[in-house]
């Protein structure tokens, strides 16, 4: 795998993470399901995965960037796994509405497991790291599209920070949030 292909794949990775985070926003605003603390932690882990890929796109592909994304994926998998186990008892309705038969945290666990596998496979290819000596020769195939994807990802990260502030304020988030802390009259 050439450095250019690796960087282009990382652009796709950032785009996929951005779409997942936008889908979470869709559930939050279209269905009115407010995210629980574990849901927010899974979003943070997804941001970490995207941040690792973003560093690969911006500065060239490096094992340490993959490392950041891989640690984030494992962290997200742990959080999602914990949430699955919290609701695993028979008769427990789970948190939120299921999507295609599975709750969002179950989909999240599958996504993080998939991300961890993909990142591990990406690390098999040594040639992508040759760009360390000549970073300019390994620019992504579509530089404008890459910039747009990175900016969109950063915009989604900012939106997540703002909505979390509105939801929880500066204190701890409630386990089952019912309203936005900073938008309520109380």
């Amino acid at each position: 795998m050439t450095p250019q292909i690796a960087r282009s794949l990382n652009v796709l990775f950032v785009l996929a993470v951005t779409l997942i985070l936008l889908a979470a926003f869709g559930v939050q605003f279209a269905k009115g399901e407010l995210p629980c603390p574990l849901c927010l932690l899974q979003r943070l882990a997804m941001l970490g995965v995207g941040a690792g890929a973003l560093l690969n796109v911006r500065y060239g592909v490096r094992p340490r960037h993959y490392g950041l994304a891989l640690v984030s994926a494992n962290f997200g998998g742990a959080v999602a796994g914990r949430q699955v186990l919290l609701h695993i008892a028979p008769g427990d309705p789970g948190y939120g509405e299921p999507l295609l038969g599975l709750h969002l945290y179950t989909w999240s666990f599958i996504a993080f497991a998939g991300v961890a596998i993909i990142l591990s496979v990406m690390l098999w290819f040594d040639r992508q790291f040759e760009s360390a000596t000549a970073p300019t020769s390994s620019a992504p195939a579509f530089p404008r599209l890459s910039t747009a994807v990175l900016l969109l990802f950063c915009g989604v990260a900012i939106a997540n920070a703002l909505t979390t502030l509105l939801l929880c304020g500066l204190g701890p988030c409630p386990d089952t949030p019912t309203h936005y802390e900073w938008l309520s009259d109380r």
């Binding site: 603390p37 932690l41 943070l44 941040a51 560093l55 900016l151 950063c154 900012i158 502030l165 701890p172």
Partner: protein, 51 residues
């Protein structure tokens, strides 16, 4: 509290886009560490013990 790691991530991403590679990596690692700390606080809070 949960807003802190989100804000730290945003600062890290801004530094990354601004070309401050080392600072961005450091801040992103701090954001991830904060997230893991939040998870540990949440997880231990549910156990029948106190740390």
């Amino acid at each position: 509290m949960m807003a802190a790691p989100f804000t730290t991530f945003v600062i890290g991403l801004a530094l990354a886009l601004a070309g401050k590679r080392g600072a961005a990596a450091a801040v992103l690692v701090i954001a991830l560490a904060l997230s893991i700390a939040m998870f540990l606080v949440h997880a231990t809070d549910k156990l029948p013990i106190s740390l």
